[in-house]
Amino acid sequence: MQTATLAFDLLLSAALIWSAIRAITVADLFRAVVMFIVFGLLVALVWARLDAPDIALAEAAIGAGLTGALLLDAVGHLRAIQLVREKKEGRR
């Protein structure tokens, strides 16, 4: 029993570190943000494991949800503007 939960904790830790590194390094920005949202949800899971349901709720809603929405909106905005730029340059 003890080893099973420890294995789960270690696995979750590994997933956290992997998703954090991916979010920072993956080439495509959209995928990076998606990775970050995954990271946020994993963190919410950590709070649940740490007997902190209050933080788990807040993390899922604010840390992953709202921050994720803000970031996705920014990526969309960035893409729209880059598209316009490319069109303009193509016309020239």
């Binding site: 956290l16 570190i17 803000l70 970031l71 920014a74 960035l78």
Partner: protein, 105 residues
């Protein structure tokens, strides 16, 4: 070492590593969105150290938990401000990178 690896301690250690990853990303990556992502990773790492270390005896501790709730809101506030400025810069310059040298300096 007679130390037992409690879940709290595991996550405190993970938090320490996440903090280091976040700091490296914040400094090394040049795209502003990456920096903002890295900042959030760094913050989550610090929060995990705070709660994980606080509870390493195995008893739930509401004090660091309340601190982290405060911290999460502060982090989203900072993220929104950073995004606002980054988007403003995007409109002005067409990209989301900080120039190596300041335009006015």
């Amino acid at each position: 070492m007679t130390l037992t690896l409690t879940p709290s301690l595991v996550y405190a250690l993970t938090g320490a590593l996440l903090f280091a990853i976040g700091v490296a990303g914040l400094i090394v990556r040049t795209h502003l969105l990456r920096k903002i992502l890295a900042f959030n990773v760094m913050g989550s790492g610090a929060f995990m150290v705070l709660v994980g270390l606080g509870q390493r005896a195995g008893i739930s501790d509401p004090v660091p938990q309340a601190m982290v709730l405060t911290g999460i809101v502060v982090a989203v506030a900072a993220t929104a401000l950073a995004l606002a400025l980054s988007r403003h810069l995007l409109l002005l310059t067409g990209n989301m990178h900080l120039p190596e040298n300041d335009p006015d300096a």
